[in-house]
């Protein structure tokens, strides 16, 4: 039971990270029906930005709290700018064209960004110093959960609440929901869909950057390639939950996190990455639209 609890909590922390990335996939898909394959790269760039700025601020002798705050803020801004720009130059010109074009463009962007970071930085794994605080009072429980994991859980929970509020109650949120449901009709009531789409990319990228900083702090290392596997996993989580559905992405991420964690704990850690795809296949066989996905019924 103790062992189970331990695995469950580490799975939850893992799931939280997947959720931060999966939300970007699902929000973009919900609005423009594009699988944004470059999204994993945004997450990686978020991590790198925090590493670079964090190191810079730290070398200037700033207190750790400020280093953390500023490096995270800058990484969010940087990643959001990347997301915004990618949509503008790689996807917007292809809007209204066959969907496959934008998908290929997304894969292209992903490769460009990976190789850009490879050339600009290094192909080696770099150590990622954690500026996250250690909680003393958590010491007795560190068998189950450590400070970084707890912070990951807390940050994700706060972000989920904020995001739900934004989508449910704000004007921009309503415009996003309306655009996702019927883009032309949203235009006919006066929604500027370019603005909505840009905003979706900005929010999704900001979340991915936060996820990037958290996971790098947790793992203690970073590499130009981490976006690829994390991106694929988060994509699996989004599909698992029902792509286009926001609660679905969160649920799918936790299911994936738990499966991986329990699978490695009870079966074998050699198959860690395989569990993600096994559960994907199982769920898609039972419920092809995903756990919370809706089949689109057309009313004539």
């Amino acid at each position: 039971m103790e062992y189970f609890l331990k695995l469950f909590l580490s799975g939850t922390a893992k799931g939280s990270i997947y959720a931060l990335i999966a939300l970007g996939y699902t929000m973009v898909y919900g609005i423009i029906q594009l699988i944004n394959f470059a999204h994993g790269e945004i997450y990686m760039i978020g991590g790198f930005t925090a590493l670079i700025f964090g190191g810079f601020f730290f070398s200037k002798g700033m207190p750790v709290g400020f280093v953390l705050l500023f490096s995270v803020l800058l990484s969010i801004i940087y990643a959001a700018a990347f997301g915004y720009t990618i949509e503008k130059i790689a996807y917007r010109p292809l809007r209204g064209k066959p969907r496959l074009s934008a998908l290929i463009s997304a894969i292209g962007v992903s490769m460009v960004l990976q190789n850009f970071v490879l050339l600009a930085q290094t192909e080696k794994f770099l150590p990622f110093p954690s500026y996250l605080p250690e909680f003393k009072w958590l010491q007795p429980y560190k068998e189950y959960i450590n400070s970084t994991q707890l912070i990951i859980l807390g940050v994700t929970a706060v972000i989920m609440v904020l995001l739900t509020f934004l989508i449910k109650f704000t004007r921009m949120g309503k415009a996003m929901r309306a655009t996702a449901q019927d883009m032309h009709m949203a235009q006919l009531v006066g929604v500027d869909i370019n603005q909505v789409i840009s905003m979706t990319f900005i929010i999704g990228s900001a979340l991915a950057a936060i996820g990037g900083v958290l996971i790098c702090s947790y793992m203690g290392q970073i590499n130009y390639y981490i976006g690829f596997i994390a991106g694929i996993k988060a994509f699996v989580a989004a599909v698992l939950g029902g792509i286009g559905s926001i609660p679905g992405a969160v649920l799918g991420s936790f299911v994936l996190g738990w499966t991986e964690s329990l699978g490695t704990g009870y079966i074998s850690s050699d198959y860690e990455d395989a569990f993600a795809f096994i559960i994907l296949i199982v769920i898609l066989l039972i419920k092809p639209e995903g756990i919370l996905g809706r089949t689109r019924r057309q009313k004539v």
Partner: protein
Amino acid sequence: MALLELKDVHTFYGNIQALKGISISVDEGEIVTLIGANGAGKTTTLMSICAITPLRSGQILLNGKEISRVSPNKIVKMGVSQVPEGRRIFPQLSVSENLDMGAFLRTDKEGIKRNMEEVFAIFPRLAERRNQLGGTLSGGEQQMLAISRALMANPHLLLLDEPSLGLAPLVVQNIFEVIQKINKERKTTILLVEQNANMALKIANKGYVMQNGIIKSADTAAHLLENEEVRKAYLGL
């Protein structure tokens, strides 16, 4: 000067030409109807006015100002609202959220509230169902909601695309009465696309008959109702 004027409008879907030089003029305060068979280009005409399917050549003037290169949201801001074909209710938004979306560009909270009460007075059914999701309404209720949503923008010009489609005769009657009422009481100019030519011509001042992307004839509604050719082709008499 006409409120809305289309001059030699050509619109394409890819390589297929849907509009082959349409000219229409709608005066302030009028009800103008556009009739014709399926595929004549009626819906495309409305979508071209709203800049959803941009035109390739020609001009669209609103109050004498060229709007054919203006983005859709700005056209809404200029006072043009559309009730599109098939109603296009936001299915996962509640009735009142759908109405809120209709008032998306407005900032006068008081006015929006008053407006919402007005549409609830016109369609009491919507008031009863205000918290229900749009997608769960019946066809007739969805049509009421679509019209109400367009009214929430307080439009100067209302474009209606086949409001009678798929509705029971009694509901159609009700919808047409409301259209006339909107025109009379709110002084809203209306461009009405209809397959039910008989009913449309009865409430309209002027009519255009479309066929294969061109305007076949244009006249006062009263004349069109008596026109032999129109009667045969579109009124089934």
